[in-house]
Symmetry: none
Subunit: 173 residues, 2 copies
Amino acid sequence: MGEGERAAESGGFSSTRAGAKCGRWNPTAEQVKVLTDLFRSGLRTPSTDQIQMISAHLSAFGKIESKNVFYWFQNHKARERHHKKRRRGLRDEEDDDGDHQKARSRCLASCTKGKQDLFWQRQERETETLELFPLKSCSSDEEKVMSMRSELWGRPFLDAARDPPLDLRLSFI
Amino acid sequence: MGEGERAAESGGFSSTRAGAKCGRWNPTAEQVKVLTDLFRSGLRTPSTDQIQMISAHLSAFGKIESKNVFYWFQNHKARERHHKKRRRGLRDEEDDDGDHQKARSRCLASCTKGKQDLFWQRQERETETLELFPLKSCSSDEEKVMSMRSELWGRPFLDAARDPPLDLRLSFI
DNA sequence: AATATATGAATGAAAG
DNA sequence: CTTTCATTCATATATT
């Protein structure tokens, strides 16, 4: 478990590669510097190409992947915008309704649509879907899963002997 | 402290754990298991009927709505699509040793889902991104930063004297 | 060491 | 379908 090689790997700077062993990316000071600079310069949502380029460059300072750059900008942007006021400082009740009003800034425009037909609830047909699934009470969840799977895949939902099976299998194969 | 730990509410299992308070759907391990299984079985874009059925079934494990199923497949498919392992240009040498302490506290059962969802590595186009960045060997990291920054912001990547700068700045303004 | 905070990572939800 | 936003979780780091 040799983890002695720490810090100064590139020399000349404070490449504090702290958690060098952890599975999670730990940006070096130089990497953060560049990223922060790019951000401050106006870069908010780099494209895939930009992510690739930035990642390639930053790899010179240490291990880094594209996803790290991606996440970095996502998080930085989100947290920069948040700027939520300091909690009560005592204990976060995990339910700060107070600043919940920040809400969405873009959902407003979409209000005109109202309750149009959303995809997942399209088809207002009076299908008694639930009827199709008499949830049998099982003792454990695992039994439920098994039961469900067998229902979904093993046999038709409805006991329509000669009716075209309506199970999922036939629907998407 | 003193956090209202409203444990299981729907059943005698790990129903709606984690952010039980949040309004956002928090799938249980069983739900994820079934969804993942369906996905792995080939289901990519379930129809409204299928969504209804799946939702109805999964409701046995905890609160769930059709839209949750809809979104789940939407996200899972989108993130699965970006499966490009093109590590081209990234240094994989420092492969993390077997110290993967991914250990989730609650998502144990949902391990079926491996490593997928990648957005940052979209585009499999053969862009010679690396070509644009001939990493010049610098003696110190600071020089590297300077060099990089000048490349990123000071002048075009390619020596296109009067060609529209292809630098990041023009890409996102 | 224990606690607080900063931030990397993941994903549900939704807009485009 | 693709891209982005928002919330949450996990952990490294900083502070006391």
